[in-house]
């Protein structure tokens, strides 16, 4: 995560001091782009041995060409190609490996009695790259996992994104805001079943494909061509073809269930299937285990420079070493709210290029640093009330993690104590008597 203080234009800091209102500041740039749809760039996938590149992005041709090339020119066959989660990543990985090591190290070799183009010739050597090789097996598992994560992120995004703006395929006046609404509408109003919205992913592409088929007057299910739109609609309605053919593997990638990690699929007859939706029956303890969800480290930024650390103590040591500023000592005898003000004050002053000790205005960041270092003004003037103002209750940076580590958290020491400068009143509570509920709660007390 990149962090930057807003010192892109250094003059900006100077001008802002004229007005005391600064707009919201953030450490991390807002990354609200759509989640990616593939793990690597699929447009220029290189061959594993030479420098040919293939475009995997357009339909199926790219991957077929690449595989054909590998066979014909380099005599390499990849086992279970269809099972690989992301062929481009696979190619990139092995390209790197084959650059340094010979092919025989990782592939098993076979002898066939023909050349790649079919003419017979005795004892030609071919190579097979399969998951018998442990590296390859691990690679495939890793790719599958990464692909699954990616797909889940995309699925979550599609479930809640309100920027999806698309008109219905049949009625011209309906517009949906979210993808699940769109798919539900197609089912409830037009009986076109693409699938339950919560099982679908890459919905945009799927709708494009369906629309394309309808425009070209091809039936969605049986793929036959029709003369005109009314005939097509009649056919689809009468034959029950207003849905996706489950046997058609072209649509496999749109359904979440197909991204699960590989396991032999067992067909269990419907009668024998166990009831899935029992809420209270949990399979194992891991069901309700909260501790396996791990996130990224949140970094905290130094008060004076752009150095960021995950651990706050390390950051404080950095400030002592680099800026001769001992935070703990400075705030040793202050209440929580005073510490909050100190932090916000320092952040504010640094942002508008004012010295924290003497208040002198500097033209830019470099001169401010020089001033602070030379005059040793990396300290707070505790007497002057410059920092003890109510305006410094409000965080200068919206996502300033430094404010979350200001006091020692003791277990079970909730205080009602009113610290200086804070009066907190609880909201009034009205408890109304309910005889029925009361009797229910006393039920267990029988004579």
């Amino acid at each position: 995560m990149s962090t930057q203080l807003s010192n892109a234009n250094d003059d900006e800091g100077g001008e802002a001091s004229k007005s005391t209102i600064i707009g919201p500041l953030n450490f991390t740039k807002d990354s609200s782009t759509d989640p990616p749809t593939s793990l690597v760039d699929e447009r220029t996938v290189p061959c594993m041995f030479c420098s040919n590149t293939y475009d995997f992005h357009t339909a199926d041709n790219g991957s077929d060409q690449c595989l054909a090339h590998l066979y014909l020119v380099h005599r390499l066959v990849v086992a279970d190609v269809k099972e690989i989660a992301c062929l481009p990543s696979y190619c990139y990985y092995w390209k790197e490996k084959f650059a340094h090591e010979p092919v025989e190290k990782y592939c098993s070799s076979m002898l066939l009695n023909q050349l790649p183009d079919g003419t017979s010739s005795p004892n030609e050597k071919y190579f097979l790259l399969s998951d018998v090789e442990p590296l390859d097996y691990e690679l495939r598992q890793r790719l599958r996992r990464e692909k699954l994560e990616l797909v889940l992120t995309r699925h979550q995004f599609e479930r809640t994104d309100r920027n999806f703006y698309r008109g219905c395929l049949y009625c011209r006046d309906y517009r949906a805001e979210t993808r699940p609404e769109f798919v539900s509408h197609l089912y409830t109003k037009h009986f076109l079943l693409l699938g339950k919205p919560e099982h679908l992913v890459f919905v945009d592409e799927l709708i494009e494909i369906v629309q394309d088929k309808l425009n070209r007057l091809i039936c969605l299910f049986c793929e036959k061509l029709f003369k005109d739109r009314p005939t097509l609609k009649e056919h689809m309605r009468k034959k029950g073809h207003k849905r996706i053919n489950p046997d058609n593997h072209y649509y496999d990638r749109f359904f979440l269930v197909n991204y699960r990690l590989k396991q032999k699929p067992e067909y269990v007859p419907i009668a024998k299937r166990k009831e899935e939706s029992r809420v209270f029956a949990s399979d194992s303890d891991s069901d309700s285990d909260w501790s396996d969800w791990n996130g990224e480290e949140q970094t905290t930024t130094c008060l004076f420079c752009t150095h960021a650390e995950a651990n706050v103590d390390t950051l404080k040591r950095h400030m002592v070493a680099k800026h001769t500023f001992d935070f703990d000592q400075t705030v040793a005898d202050m209440s929580f709210y005073q510490r909050v003000k100190v932090v916000n004050f320092i952040r504010r002053q640094m942002h508008i290029r004012k010295c924290i000790a003497c208040g002198e205005q500097c033209p830019d960041y470099e001169s401010l640093c020089k001033h602070l270092a030379e005059l040793n003004h990396f300290r707070l003037d505790k007497e002057a009330g410059a920092w003890d103002q109510p305006e410094y209750f409000f965080p200068t940076y919206e996502d300033d993690q430094f404010l979350c580590h200001l006091e020692e958290v003791d277990n079970e020491r909730d205080e009602l104590s009113q610290e200086e400068g804070s009066i907190v009143i609880s909201e009034s509570v009205t408890a109304s008597i309910n005889l029925d509920a009361e009797s229910l709660s006393l039920e267990n007390f029988k004579l």
Binding site: R243, F255, V257, S286, D414, V424, D436
Partner: protein, 274 residues
């Protein structure tokens, strides 16, 4: 929104299980032509038949607000009870869906685990987690568990009592695993000063301004969320002086029904006729 999904079960649609869908589709075609077939699968959500005594009381309208249930610390075992009081106001948010794996003889079995937080941004918050073979089932199950865990949130004012309450009434802390979260009152306009995960929870609970202090391995976001939830729940557990006023004492049931108890031989009480 996810709760409406089971209603379409009649069609046996959903391509979660390809084997089943094939059979269902063919069978349906024979049944009737055109629109009739599709319409059959689309029923409205079923009528709630309560199975607990509290559920019956709620359905009959004997309980006016959710707060009355909290006052008597009655355990809530049916999520429809929460729905009855807070239906449209509750907004659920899926915090994370992650795949979990288990090694079996036939390879690895992947299931999806959904973490859901639910709240009305006005004094109620709940958290639920559910693991299942399909994403949709996991989300649905997690929403139900989140509804069952809804607790009231007490808020307060900083300084003067004008407008709506906006911050926590006192410093409260909650712990889960190694993560400790402390919520501290803040003046109006501060916003929520915390990491993203507790920020979302505090917003859904209806707390507008709050400082937080955290300790422990906050990368375990699951424990982080649960610790925040525990801290928020504590706001009502804390006895402040203004809660000291006495509630009027009713006659105990033994006094009230002394005659009745005299008459009957059985010691068990019948559920009082409504």
């Amino acid at each position: 929104m996810a709760d409406a999904a089971p209603a379409r079960g009649g069609f046996r649609g959903g391509f979660g299980s390809r084997g089943g869908a094939r059979g269902g589709g063919r069978g349906g075609r024979g049944r009737g032509r055109g629109r009739g077939r599709g319409r059959g699968g689309k029923e409205d959500s079923k009528e709630w038949v309560p199975v607990t005594k509290l559920g019956r009381l709620v359905k009959d309208g004997k309980i006016r607000t959710l707060e009355e249930i909290y006052l008597y610390s009655l355990p809530i075992k049916e999520f429809e009870i929460i729905d009855f009081f807070l239906n449209r106001l509750l907004k659920d948010e899926v915090l994370k869906i992650m795949p979990v794996q288990k090694q079996t003889r036939a390879g690895q079995r992947t299931r999806f685990k959904a973490f859901v937080a639910i709240g009305d941004s006005n004094g109620h918050i709940g958290l639920g987690v559910k693991c299942s073979k399909e994403v949709a089932t996991a989300i649905r199950g997690a929403i139900i568990l989140a509804k069952l865990s809804v607790v009231p949130v007490r808020r307060g004012y900083w300084g003067n009592k004008i407008g709506r309450p906006h911050t926590v009434p006192c410093k409260v802390s909650g712990k889960c695993g190694s993560v400790l979260v402390r919520l501290i009152p803040a003046p109006r306009g501060t916003g929520i000063v915390s990491a993203p995960v507790p920020k979302k929870l505090l917003q859904m609970a209806g707390i507008d301004d709050c400082y937080t202090t955290t300790r422990g391995s906050t990368t375990t976001l699951g424990n982080f969320a649960k610790a925040t939830y525990a801290a928020i729940a504590k706001t009502y557990a804390f006895l402040t002086p203004d809660l000291w006023k006495d509630l009027p004492l009713n006659k105990t049931p033994y006094q009230e029904f002394a005659d009745f108890l005299d008459k009957t031989n059985k010691t068990g009480q019948r559920v009082i006729e409504m």
